[in-house]
Point group: C2
Chain length 230, copies 2
DNA sequence: ACAAAAGTGTTGCAGATACACCCATGA
DNA sequence: TCATGGGTGTATCTGCAACACTTTTGT
């Protein structure tokens, strides 16, 4: 036997975060779920995902299955963790490589909401199929402990944004208010966003400067162009 | 088709770090390599690893294949990343879940060094089979950017250790010298190590206090008993 | 007594927080 | 002119790096 085992299936799942208003109008972290149609956990809600095909990369599989099930097309997926307990899927052995991404609100709107796709508040999202509850908790913990200005700006906001918008994003993610003055200085010191020279007019107040994110990103996985300490 | 694909193989590899003296006597980060006997990359050096069996968890597979190839048995494996480029193994599609661990010197000595197992300095370790060069670089980057007092103490040192020993470990990992006074304060402030009350006698100098690591560890992956911000 | 390493104190710098204050706009 | 949020200045606090200094052992 040159390759002693065959019967392990490789799947991908995706945890997609967006900032949407909940019933009370507060902006909170949400994620899309899909209803399962087949039997392990039939009819229950689960993370978007599917099988990895022979010739596609893991992240491509994540992108493809996400698009197929929800219509979402995030630009950048980050690998989160690989789950492989032998009993995590009844009947067959499945190893799931889980990816995570952030999407802008108008991209989130592209999701084909309906009978089988639904956005849920990430904090009270429970009772999912398989070990997906655990996966969501871990993804949320990672989001909150590793927020970076440029990263969040680039993926939750449009190309140009005001610092107030960026602050709003951080406040929604971290669930606490931040001092505008100190937030501004931190962002400026980080060097990861830069002024565009433009201003946002139209509000009933002084028009804010607009910024854009700088940095190619690739922060949290192999293939970094130039990692820290390198 | 209930499960559309079958032909992806799941493997594990392990990057094991130990602090060993190099030819010049300097303590440096080393890792064990095994010589491949079969053909993709036959005779070349590679990370220890093997196929995941049907009924074992991914980390158990890591433990087992590491023991089979090298004789090493680290207590705690941490998942590093999952590599799955379609072309990373010639001929067949292989997804490799990579784990990392730290071992004490006397544990490292348990490795069956010989014709087919060799410890190498991690920094000038190149020309490995598959994409293993890339994996080693990433593991090393993670080790150096995420050094934590308790974590390193627990896995590189014996149960009781002096702060000088702990400092020596950090200096070897980070490849620079550290101020003893500041190091002591940082460690004490971290609260992750605690005095045992004992002292180390026998050196030709003032006997240092001995410490031991506190904390259940489980720091960098799901299944944390109580993660930050929880 | 001396060497060597353990351990303590002190100072200066850098970044973060808190908060007072001024600025520009729409209504 | 006032309400609203944009934007600046500044005192204070906190943590860390640097380094001088004292203490305790073995020889």
């Amino acid at each position: 036997m040159s390759t002693s085992q065959q019967a392990i299936l490789v799947a991908v799942s995706t945890v997609i975060f967006a900032l949407l208003p909940d019933r009370r109008g507060d902006v909170r972290v949400h994620l899309p779920l899909v209803r399962r149609t087949r039997d392990p956990y039939g009819d229950q809600w689960a993370l978007p995902g599917g099988w990895v095909r022979q010739e596609e990369s893991l992240s491509d599989a994540g992108r493809r299955t996400l698009a197929e099930t929800t219509g979402l097309r995030p630009s950048y997926l980050e690998q989160l963790y690989t789950f492989g307990r032998p009993d995590r899927s009844p009947g067959q052995r499945v190893v799931s490589v889980v990816y995570s991404a952030l999407v802008r609100n108008h991209e989130a709107a592209a999701a084909v909401e309906g009978e089988n796709v639904r956005w849920t508040s990430a904090d009270d999202c429970t009772g999912l199929a398989f070990d997906h509850d655990e996966i969501v908790q871990y993804a949320l913990w990672r989001l909150r402990t590793k927020v970076q200005f440029a990263h969040v700006a680039q993926h939750f906001l449009d190309e140009r944004f005001s610092l107030a918008q960026l602050r709003g994003v951080h406040e929604a993610v971290l669930q606490r208010s931040l001092d505008p003055a100190n937030f501004r200085r931190q962002v400026e010191a980080s060097g990861t966003v830069v002024e565009t020279g433009e201003r946002q007019t139209g509000g009933r107040h002084r028009p804010p400067k607009l910024y854009r994110a700088v940095v190619p990103d690739g922060s949290a996985g192999p293939l970094r162009t130039a990692g820290p300490l390198a």
